[in-house]
């Protein structure tokens, strides 16, 4: 299995642990990821917020380069995935738009390749089976609230590889590595996305709602598929806790970190140090459930 890899801007900086864990887990599973040369930003929320055509044109440039490589694209970041997929669908369905945008591109995109999210790739039935076989450190005792957020699931006509109201794929991935995901109500609620920077009070309120509900349902961590979700949940939990008068301290992981941890992929544990919220309480919960096997990575 071989894919064109689109890290996107966040996975090179604020979400570097997401990028590194995706690459490490893929490698361990024999999935080859080839970074798309000279990829550009997908435009994210700001692109479609201000300019529809630009929001298609920016990802189309990267898709054109990937098409030249002859490979389907994997975009782990939920926002990048959503924008790339929206561009794919628009370019495939609107011939006039396709030829207009392609006329400005060095590598035109003809719609021959498709875009996948990392969750989609890692939870394909055969890959999920391989993950199950590779688990050497089951995450028993870890009770993640699986947080899908918005952009991975919506709009279902465009992204749609999971149920937009009752998504399961992340829960399946967590069960495969021995964790015990909780049932809760905020799986697909929004964290405020980029309002986290430009209107942080909104993200504080939404983060409070999300983490409080996860706690109420017995979660000892939250697992995400989106850099913006993780950043908002980590950055705003202190203020949200103060606002609600509750202790909302909650470790937050990228799902690829937990897959790698259960598979004892070398190099995964050192990524935990880059989290803004201490993840050790969640890691300790695992070790209580299962003694650390001999020779486990320190």
């Amino acid at each position: 299995m071989k894919y064109a890899y689109y890290p996107g801007c966040s996975l090179e900086s604020t979400a570097k642990e997401f990028g590194e864990s995706t690459v490490l887990v893929a490698e361990a599973l024999g999935i080859e990821l080839v970074e798309i040369p000279d990829w550009n930003c997908c435009g994210a929320t700001s692109g479609h917020a201000l300019d529809h055509k630009l929001s298609i044109a920016l990802p189309a440039r990267t898709l054109g380069i990937a098409e030249n490589m002859g490979l389907d694209v994997v975009a782990p970041c939920a926002a990048c995935y959503n924008r790339m997929k929206s561009a794919e669908v628009a370019m495939k369905s609107d011939e006039a738009l396709r030829s207009e945008i392609n006329s400005s591109l060095a590598n035109p995109y003809e719609g021959k390749i498709t875009v996948h999210s990392a969750l989609e790739i890692f939870t394909a039935p055969d890959v999920l089976n391989r993950i199950k076989e590779r688990v050497s450190y089951p995450l028993r005792g870890l009770k993640p609230a699986c947080y899908y957020g918005c952009l991975l699931l919506r709009p279902p006509k465009i992204v749609g590889f999971d149920d937009p109201e009752a998504p399961q794929r992340l829960d399946e991935a967590m069960c495969a590595v021995g964790a015990e995901p909780v049932e809760w109500y905020f799986k697909n609620e929004c964290c405020g996305a980029s309002l986290g920077i430009s209107k942080s009070a909104v993200s504080v309120k939404l983060t409070g709602d999300i983490i409080s509900n996860a706690k109420k349902h017995g979660a000892n961590c939250i697992v995400t598929v989106c850099p913006l979700c993780l950043t908002n949940l980590e950055m705003r939990q202190g203020a949200a806790g103060k606002m609600r008068g509750e202790d909302l301290t909650m470790p937050v992981f990228y799902f690829t970190e937990l897959l790698g941890l259960a598979m004892e992929v070398p190099g995964i544990r050192k990524l935990f140090a880059s989290h803004l919220v201490d993840v050790n309480p969640a890691l300790d919960a695992i070790e209580q459930g299962e003694p650390v096997p001999a020779g486990a990575e320190g």
């Binding site: 801007c9 979400a15 000279d38 550009n40 201000l50 697909n188 430009s198 209107k199 942080s200 880059s274």
Partner: protein
């Protein structure tokens, strides 16, 4: 107040068989706002029959000056200033919950995008200036580097909004954890990127 009685003639289309087929019929003068929205995003605001599902599921509705379903209603009536001057169109986080749940298939999130574009086009001052500045600074970064350099983005955004102190501690923490690269990573095909911008609306502004 705009005379909107001649913009929508009847409440429902005549041959509707069930409630999901209900939609407003455009009056003889129509609404310019409705037309421009449809041109920009393909959505027909007359499809909305005001069930309120969009507002019920909207995570940010509580902070908006007019509710999401009201944005659609005012757009149906052609009340441009009320829609384009609202905080609602800027506060929309683009989470697409409304678009997913609308029984009439109206993607309100896309209507919100179109309204922001129209507001900028017509020089209407954004009611949430910080959000508008953030989006603009973000695209300026992409135009300049081809990618977003989070350190420059945050620094310049803070200069533009004169907010120097919020989240500085978190910023330092991120920097110490190696999560904020000092040097922007540049795309080689920046001319190509600029060409994409020059063909778009955003390219015509000096940013």
């Amino acid at each position: 107040m705009t005379n909107f009685s001649n913009k929508v003639t009847s409440l429902v289309s005549e041959n509707a068989q069930c409630c999901c087929e209900l939609s407003l019929v455009e009056g003889p003068t129509g609404s310019e706002l409705k037309r421009r929205i449809q041109e920009l995003c393909g959505e027909n605001v007359l499809e909305c029959y005001q069930c309120g599902e969009c507002t019920a599921g909207c995570p940010v509705a509580y902070a908006m000056d007019i509710a999401p379903n009201q944005v659609l209603r005012l757009a149906q009536l052609g009340l441009e200033d009320e829609v384009l001057g609202s905080s609602a169109i800027w506060l929309c986080a683009g989470c697409e919950t409304c678009a997913t749940r609308c029984p009439k298939g109206v993607a309100l999130s896309r209507v919100m995008d179109a309204c922001r574009q129209l507001a900028l086009e017509r020089g209407i001052k954004p009611k949430e200036p910080e959000i508008a500045k953030f989006h603009d600074q973000f695209l300026t970064e992409v135009k300049r580097f081809g990618r977003v350099h989070e350190l420059t983005l945050t620094a310049l955004y803070k200069v533009r909004t004169k907010d120097f102190f919020s989240d500085v501690f978190t910023g330092i923490q991120m920097f110490l954890k190696g999560k904020l690269a000092l040097i922007p990573s540049l795309v080689k095909g920046r001319d190509e990127i600029r060409r994409l911008f020059s063909r778009s609306r955003h390219g015509s502004e000096d940013s």
